[in-house]
């Protein structure tokens, strides 16, 4: 599903922030990506999301060489990937409902066809009472949940989540992790970037990708 071979990345003429990164994400797998702050977790997720191009190495996504993709093919692949950003990236002028429905709207689906699905997901993440609220009036945790709902609404084949439980209480964090695990059981590969050890301990069977000093170490 995702394959990195000897991938390196440097910004400008600086030193490499990621060096010789090689790994493979299998279908229906679950992995945590961890490491100290500034280790390059978000950068690695951005490489997978194709918002950064590597300075060297080979990346393939869904069996396609990323360097050979045109813009429309990149868009098509992104529709198969759900992303939860660390800073949420909700659009402030859209309601919670509209933010969550955005990926389906972009795919050209009619509002009536996805309304029930979006509302149910919002209720599931505890935002049933905030359907028409705008992000500026939501708390950090509520924004986090709205961002997660937006990533899940398309039932993605691959889910990338950058610190998805960083702004929620432990109870909701466990609930969200359970959601990710259910999603994984239904066929979605999940990569969660976190440095929350307690969260990782709740799912011992998940692979751990540990980034440190630009290199990646994998623990099964």
């Amino acid at each position: 599903m995702v394959r990195f071979e000897n991938v390196g990345l440097r910004y400008g003429m600086g030193t490499e922030v990621l060096r010789d990164i090689s790994f493979a994400i299998e279908p229906q797998s679950f992995q945590f990506l961890t490491g100290p702050s500034g280790a390059g977790k978000t950068t690695l997720l951005r490489l997978i999301l194709m918002s950064l191009r590597p300075t060297r190495g080979f990346i393939s996504l869904f069996e396609q060489d990323v360097s050979q993709l045109d813009k429309d093919e990149i868009s098509a692949i992104r529709r198969r990937v759900g992303v939860v950003f660390q800073d949420f990236r909700l659009l402030d002028h859209l309601t919670t409902y509209e933010n969550v429905a955005l990926p389906l709207f972009v795919q050209g689906q009619e509002d009536r066809s996805y309304r029930a699905q979006v509302v149910e997901l919002l209720r599931w993440v505890g935002l049933g009472d905030h359907i028409h609220a705008y992000p500026p009036v939501l708390s950090g945790g509520e924004k986090q949940r709205a961002a997660i709902a937006r990533a899940l609404i398309v039932q993605p084949e691959l889910l990338l989540a950058d610190e998805p439980t960083g702004n929620v209480d432990p109870t909701l964090a466990r609930r969200l992790l359970r959601l990710f695990m259910e999603l994984n059981k239904s066929g979605t590969s999940v990569i969660i970037a976190t440095h929350d050890l307690a969260l990782m301990d709740q799912f011992d069977s998940a692979k751990r990708f540990v980034l440190g000093e630009g290199r990646l170490h994998i623990y099964d």
């Binding site: 868009s75 992104r78 529709r79 659009l91 429905a101 029930a116 509302v119 028409h132």
Partner: protein, 333 residues
């Protein structure tokens, strides 16, 4: 997930009415879908949007005013052409030692003997004197002045009179008479009206160029301000075409709003100008101005021109923004 449709009405959604597929064409539904985006991805109610609507309204007003003015001048020039070219005059100058009345009669006879005129009317001395009243004033005794006498010849249309022959006969038999077919005057008027129309078209072009530049800058500003939106759209799989469509829809809406305001203002101005001109034309001065410049009332062609310009400006706004967005997205990628 269970079906929640039944509960939707409790959630504050404005439910769409069932589609009346039979009553509306596919294109009408497509057009409505294009204009009405369910999600307003680009915020509408911003200071920049309001400023752009104002700029477009002003530009549309100026452009439609110029376009309407050009149509007025063109119509007036056609009026001059048709009315003046259907008439010519023989001017008989009073010359010492010649009987001016006899010269007038002889000149009219020569004209009558020539086929191609439908009406020949010799102005009397009093009528000729009255023609000078607007310039010299009424109640003056002009009997001491050598006032030229006029004979108005109206063309029948077919056959065309042989003007060279008439000129030759007048030269030989009435040396004080001169035939004036207004050709010089017509040529000057034609040149002037063509120049005015050309100036109007140039001004229209400049206004449209200035508006296109304003829209381009506004689009770039909107894109810079919407960078977060564009990023998120890319991450959820939006293609550049989709993003460009959203910006185009946004600016088309602003363009339509501005063009509607500016175009409506211009229509009102022309409508009021027509009413005021019709009042004014009742006066002597108004009559003379109308005779020279034609009627100030804009005809159907003028109103259509204004509507076409306003619609064109709205379309230009949408297309310009689309082009800017696509170019910028290409650069970003």
């Amino acid at each position: 997930m269970t079906d929640q449709t039944d509960q939707d009405t409790d959630l504050g959604f404005e439910d769409d009415q069932p589609a009346k597929t039979g009553a509306r064409s596919l294109w009408a539904r497509k057009a409505q879908k294009f204009v009405q985006s369910r999600l307003p991805l680009i915020p509408d109610d911003t200071t920049a949007s309001r400023a752009l609507v104002t700029v477009i309204a002003i530009m549309t007003f100026l452009a439609t005013l110029t376009g309407g003015g050009a149509v007025l001048v063109y119509d007036a020039s056609k009026g001059w052409d048709s009315s003046i070219s259907q008439e010519m005059t023989i001017q008989v100058k009073p010359v010492l030692g010649r009987d001016v009345e006899a010269d007038v009669r002889k000149s009219a006879e020569l004209a009558r003997s020539m086929p191609g005129f439908s009406e020949i009317r010799a102005f009397t001395n009093d009528e000729s004197t009255k023609l000078l009243e607007p310039w010299l004033g009424a109640g003056l005794d002009l009997s001491g002045l050598p006032i030229p006498r006029l004979i108005v010849l109206k063309l029948a249309g077919s056959p065309r009179p042989n003007l060279e022959e008439l000129r030759r006969q007048l030269r030989e038999q009435v040396p004080s008479a001169v035939l004036d077919d207004h050709r010089l005057w017509l040529e000057r008027l034609g040149t002037m009206s063509r120049a005015l129309v050309l100036i109007a078209v140039t001004v229209l072009g400049l206004v449209l160029t200035a508006m296109a530049l304003a829209v381009a800058f506004a689009t770039q500003g909107a894109m810079a301000g919407s960078r977060e939106i564009v990023d998120v759209l890319h991450f959820v799989g939006a293609q550049d075409r989709f993003i460009a469509n959203e910006f185009q829809r946004h600016f088309l809406k602003l363009g339509l709003k501005g063009a509607l305001i500016g175009g409506a203002a211009a229509l009102i101005v022309f409508f009021l100008a027509g009413i005021i001109a019709s009042w004014w034309v009742a006066s002597l001065e108004g009559n003379q101005v109308e005779a020279l410049f034609g009627n100030f009332a804009l005809g159907a062609a003028g109103y259509v021109t204004i509507i076409v310009i306003a619609c064109g400006i709205a379309a230009l706004t949408g297309l310009m923004s689309r082009s800017v967005v696509l170019r910028r997205l290409r650069r970003v990628n």
